[in-house]
Symmetry: C2
Subunit: 427 residues, 2 copies
């Protein structure tokens, strides 16, 4: 039986769960997959934390693991992009395959890493980098390999989905829900990365590149987070038959592939609307297989470690067979269409002063820009600002941006920046 020697850099929550899983499943993996997984070297910031989990002497220098000639696969669970990049590149240059859960690294430096891996004929596994335990990366590579995708989108960030769920269920405003998420360990002390949609953008750029076999650059994405949402937006949408979710979306148009991240009104009957708490989901539609969806835990120690281990088994098996066939990760860049002419629908919440004529002025500007109103709501209010909520019919994205700017410029009528949320396009 072929031995596969592993090197682990970074042993926090995911790494220590991985050590546990490897231990627990060693015998079964040998029996089912005919490979012997052998942890050979570990480097982590605080070796004492995992002292009970291994008999190895644990180092603190990840480059030592990347340079260790006796390691076949380097498992990168350090996070961050500076040191991690050097470690991954060193490992590849030394002829190791790499498995990583680091979406930021792959989004920011995917070009260099994927190209180097192809040159060296080595594998890069990143099932754990997108949607945790949901096997979407493997499915895009294999199970769905015959599909021409029209759209791939999903709830890719557990923190924001947890916050949105709690805002609805507990009648909390954004700030309270965020605080609760931080207390429960679902959100970082600095939550920017999650709540502003950057993490979701990393993930959709990776997913979309694989699905469309064209590089979708993270830097080209338009990204909006959830920090501007108020409790009133959640309830108003619910009463209109929608739930707000932060979606990463990549869609094929005649002239290219447009990827973006933004809060989205999803009809309550759509399966994406019912993915709650910290769960993740990936929805796709293809010419061949029509619509499909996968849901599951998007983060957490064991779910993420289980995704890392599935990659170790997969690529370990390939290495044991002497496979030289490298999966494609490095694709030609996609054409990116300008969104101005896309036809979309919007939920608009205007924060206005309480005075006659405000609604007519808003309606006038929308009408002038070819935007017609599907529904309008204004509740009696004791204090300003008054919330005027409009759901529109389909109109051009560019016309919306223009209208919102014009309305926000009415400084005497509008008290706060207009909240504008797109409705889910026909999927």
């Amino acid at each position: 039986m072929k031995q596969i020697r592993l090197g682990l850099v970074g042993a926090g929550v995911v790494g220590s769960n991985l050590l546990n899983l490897l231990d627990k499943k060693k015998a079964e993996i040998e029996r089912l997959h005919q490979i012997q997984l052998q942890m050979h070297a570990i480097a982590t910031r605080t070796p004492s934390k995992i002292a009970g989990l291994t008999k190895l002497s644990i180092g603190t220098d990840p480059l030592a693991v990347a340079n260790d000639p006796n390691v076949d696969i380097l498992i990168e669970l350090m996070g961050g992009t500076t040191s991690a990049l050097e470690v991954v590149q060193t490992a590849l240059k030394n002829g190791k395959s790499v498995i990583t859960a680091n979406k930021a690294l792959l989004s920011d430096y995917g070009d260099q890493i994927f190209q180097l891996a192809e040159e060296k004929g080595k594998f890069i596994g990143f099932e754990a980098a997108v949607a945790g335990s949901i096997p979407i990366i493997r499915s895009l590579r294999n199970g769905l390999a015959a599909c021409d995708f029209e759209v791939v989108c999903g709830i890719l960030n557990g923190t924001t989905n947890f916050i949105l769920t709690k805002m609805e269920e507990e009648n909390w405003d954004y700030e309270i829900a965020l605080k609760k998420a931080q207390e429960l360990g679902f959100a970082e002390a600095d939550p920017t990365f999650d709540v502003e949609g950057i993490d979701a953008a990393h993930k959709i750029s990776l997913l979309a590149s694989l699905a469309f076999r064209n590089k979708i650059s993270f830097r080209q994405l338009s990204v909006e987070g959830i920090s501007k949402l108020k409790y009133i937006d959640i309830t108003a949408c619910k009463s209109l038959g929608y739930r707000i979710k932060l979606l990463g979306i990549a869609k094929k148009y005649e002239n290219g592939i447009l990827a973006k991240v933004h809060p989205t009104l999803i009809p309550l009957k759509h399966p994406l609307a019912n993915v709650m708490n910290e769960s993740n989901a990936v929805f796709y539609k293809s010419q061949e297989a029509d619509a499909g969806m996968m849901t599951g835990k998007g983060a957490g120690g064991t779910p993420t470690a289980s995704a890392v281990l599935s990659d170790i088994i997969y690529y370990g098996s390939k290495i044991s067979e002497g496979s030289t066939k490298i999966e494609r990760n490095f694709f030609p860049p996609a054409q990116v269409p300008t969104p101005e002419n896309n036809r979309v629908r919007y939920y608009l919440r205007f924060s206005t002063i309480d005075r006659p004529g405000v609604l007519s002025e808003i309606a006038r500007i929308l009408g002038k820009n070819n935007i017609s109103i599907a529904s309008v709501q204004q509740k009696e209010s004791e204090s300003e600002p008054v919330n005027v909520i409009v759901v529109t019919h389909e109109a051009k994205e560019g016309d919306f941006q223009k209208s919102i700017q014009e309305i926000d410029d009415l400084k005497s009528l509008i008290k706060e920046k207009t909240v504008a949320i797109r409705l889910l396009e026909h999927l």
Copy 2:
């Protein structure tokens, strides 16, 4: 570039869609996967039907394809189990790998086929045999390879899910919905295979064997279909907060793995409850990845053909690399616990005569057998039988069977056989 020579036996709806897909995607597959797929031989009952789809001379003898020394992979889309078994065995004996969508064949003769494939060191792909375009087989083999499953269950038969959806949405009784499904081509002229749960049983036995890495024999399953359900059951359950779905279920107990097929009351909030029309879904729960679900099209020409093609690409790539590592399909048999002591809940619909004392007699028998009632409903009725609907708390499976028998034996009070549907266990 390595050429992979394909032989197709059976070119009905799925086969002809596969020929189309192969044609359309040939260039892309060569570019992305570095294999050249070449259809080399075809045999089908009515060659004229696919004359426009290929330049090959089409035969009618599937054994000729299985014996063709120039075929690397035999694709079996004939259906049935008699001729198909001989064809598949012949192909394997001749050193070919086999890809099939034939769940009945694998359920009935899996032992022989999988053992022969292992002996010969050949691949058997059957992604298309279970849940159509949902990549669940590949996921169980790879993406979820690190999971210890507690339960795998799903809506695995599109015909019955379509019928149940229409019964609810159109207020139809079972017979009318079945007729409509037949008109639309969703149900066969003889629908037994689908509506009595046999097709779902084939699929859950295949799924469960892979998930639990223990053979779950189709013959050991208890199987109930949907033909006894009435419109009143659909609406009564809906008003109680449930939707009825035909589930294939395989669950791990301390003393083994129990697999079965039966209609199930699913809370409306559970994601399985919202899989409608002809869609399929597979729900799973594992120690490592917690709960997850995959949904998609479970049948149809292109979705099924896309699953077949994903197998062709996967195993074609393996063959092109000279891989000799055969995936495990042949497992030691699972222990099968007796269900008598399992604690379950039931929806019970009693068809009674309209006379005082009936309910008290039913309640007495249930109570005597340690079954306590959670809710009871009886609507005013102008004619007999009167429907008395009881939802119970948890009790032993064996006590339910005993009670139902005792109640059905009250010939003077009970007009029709009691309809008994299990509630979804905690998943």
